[in-house]
């Protein structure tokens, strides 16, 4: 960041404050991105406000109201042991959003630096990181998840770590490939030729260039992570019963598609909307952040 006005820069680099405002201006002109952001914001708010909302206890059971269709009393109906689906949806938003976001944060924070290092430094660093990535990719996700749960005990946190670790290789690969592509660009080559320092090269040319594909991948991975949380719940390694998450609700609901379609409808719709929201937002950001876009 110190090299903003570095005279040795061979290509014009926009200065930071101006760029930020430009990004925001572009984002504001994109209704799809705003809509996506609104959807995500809505669910985040719901998740945060869950303890304050006037709703039933999500774990309270009612034997006389098992798998009841939506009614005035239960707006979204009840589940397989007579719990309020609406309450569980609201509380489940916490678990599902956390599972999606935290695991992607883990994957990005570990994966991108490794990928850039591999692509930038090349040689032995690249070889080592690439080999480890390949080894990680080849290890079945389930073995990793079960092993983690075995060491640390089954919980939502450990599920997020497992999902994050298994999503990491794709970020390493993308960051590496993108770094390697950027390195062949003329302006980077000339910047290297005039002796720009490594740190400056990475922050000024490489990171801005690898950011768009990483962001696109991250938004897609949030979706995968929310769904992966469901699979892990099913294996007893995710959210622990009786606490809800959308994924685990959907997993149970698939056994009652005929008898209680609402049990699957709401968590399914919520997952769909939130994934769509993240993607629209990410897409808008991608366009806004593209340094080559004027």
């Amino acid at each position: 960041m110190t090299s903003v006005v570095d005279p040795r820069a061979a290509a014009p680099a926009p200065d930071l404050p101006k760029r930020q405002s430009r990004v925001w201006k572009k984002l504001r002109r994109n209704p799809a991105a705003l809509l996506g952001g609104a959807v995500v914001l809505f669910f985040v708010l719901v998740a945060l406000l869950a303890p304050l909302l006037p709703i039933n206890d999500p774990t309270a059971t009612d034997w006389l109201a098992v798998r009841q269709a939506p009614s005035d009393k239960y707006l979204f109906g009840t589940d397989e042991i007579g719990r309020d689906v609406l309450s569980r949806m609201i509380w489940g938003a916490q678990a599902s959003l956390l599972a999606g976001v935290v695991s992607v944060v883990i994957a990005v924070c570990l994966g991108v630096p490794l990928g850039v290092m591999a692509g930038y430094l090349g040689g032995w660093t690249d070889a080592t990181i690439s080999r480890v990535t390949e080894a990680l990719l080849a290890a079945p996700f389930l073995i990793l998840a079960i092993a983690l749960a075995a060491f640390l005990g089954p919980s939502l946190t450990n599920a997020m770590i497992a999902i994050g670790l298994s999503a990491m290789p794709i970020f390493i690969r993308l960051a590496r490939a993108q770094t390697m592509t950027v390195m062949t660009e003329d302006y980077v080559e000339s910047a290297r030729a005039v002796g720009l320092r490594h740190g400056a090269l990475v922050t000024r040319y490489i990171l801005p260039n690898i950011f768009p594909p990483i962001l696109v991948q991250a938004t897609l991975t949030i979706a995968t992570a929310i769904i992966a949380e469901a699979s892990l719940s099913f294996l007893g390694l995710g959210q622990q019963a009786p606490a809800p998450s959308w994924g685990s609700m959907l997993n149970i609901a698939k056994n009652f598609l005929e008898q209680a379609p609402w049990m699957a409808l709401y968590p399914g719709a919520a997952i769909f909307l939130v994934v769509l929201g993240f993607n629209l937002l990410g897409d808008g950001l991608r366009d806004a952040l593209d340094p080559r876009d004027t």
């Binding site: 059971t61 098992v66 042991i81 598609l257």
Partner: protein
Amino acid sequence: MAHTKKVALALAFGLAAAGVTGAALAQDMRIGLQEDPDVLDPDQSRTFVGRIVYASLCDKLVDITPDLEIVPQLATGWEWSDDGLSLTMTLREGVVFHDGTPFNAEAVAANIDRSQNLPESRRKSELSSITGVEVVDEYTIRFSLDAPDATLLAQLADRAGMMISPTAAEAAGTDFGLNPVCSGPFSFVERIQQDRIVLQAFPDYWNADAINIDSVTFLPIPDTTVRLANLRAGDLDMLERLAATDVASVMADEDLTIEQAVSLGYQGITINVANGAGADNPLGQDARIRQALSLSIDRNVINQVVFEGAFAPGNQPFPPTSPWYNDAYPVPERDVEAARALLAEAGFADGITITVQVANNPVQTQLMQVVQAMASEAGITIELEAKEFATLLADQSAGDYQASQVGWSGRVDPDGNIHQFMTTGGGINDSGYSNEEVDRLLNEARTSTDLEVRRASYNAARDILIEDLPIIYLYHVTWIWALDDSVQGFVPYPDGMIRLEGVSIAE
């Protein structure tokens, strides 16, 4: 597929006309299983689902009726000596194994020897009472015992009594399961793991007249919804273990029928009372807390909520429909007040927290969440620990648990449901329970051939166990089969097996 084509051809040429039943048609029966069976060697096999395949593949010395009477299969008759120390069996003549090897007393002796002495055999404990086998003549065999064993005939009605071809067993060794050769109504054709097991009718079967099907294909389809969808789509002729919650919709479907039978097994909560350090907590040490837990549970509501009333609530190792059920202790009503009083008496008037491990499948988790909600009303907070089965089993066996939701698939003889669980040092006594009087009573019940003596022993043991509660019994599974309307002659058995004798597919 090849067989389906044959059926179609047969139909096209009008061979099916004039109500010709069974044998004239080339019929393939497709059966959906809940799991993929393990190794297909009766001596090495361990799963319930494997036994369903054996029912078509391997005949046993004796069989059971739906009422659990022992009836002839490969043995046509048997006789106990007066002291109960020797059992003489007369064998069916003219029976051959699928590879043509004749079935006779020598073959039986070889089979018993393999079950007892193959190092990998899982049948050793089931046949431990047999100390000598004597080939009297070609079709007579005599087993001598070190002590009377009331359970032996029932063991011979299951995997321990399955006869495999001695020639094939000799040649294949422990790999026998890759290409099993028995003497049942169907012989092995092929197996693709997790996909299918194909058997075809054995033309030289001794009871071939009762077999109306030309081949049978077992298809493991673990997801209950998908299994039912396959039946509805016509890709299956029948399936086992229909989800209890699907019974109503199958009954409403006029193309399908339902058969059911209360199983021989049970489901409950095993409590660690003396299996290592895991027992060192109030639940394990104070029977009053276990009684309070049991009293806090409404078994009828569990049955209604989780199983739509299709299963049987229970409080003993035998279902209420069993002749061994002790009527002195009917399934208890829920009594939250009494539960609270017991807790207070034990010094936990403000409530107590316990940890229960549960297998991470949706149904068992649902069950335990219901129990959790019920117990909380009595002041017992249950922390659920979902584990995948291999971990659950290892922790349970090692005593690394407080309480564990598990069950037992059930055995024909009552001994199989109780002895190894409740006697000191029993092979599967994960609870660590030990009581000299119970040991004495259960051993007595095992060695007596007098039904009344046995019943009295089990009842006396029950008097003690219902107080000590090392296992809180909750319910008994009902086996539920869903069949296409065209399948006729299927008889439900409480052991959950699918016997294809007399079954046909109408057209």
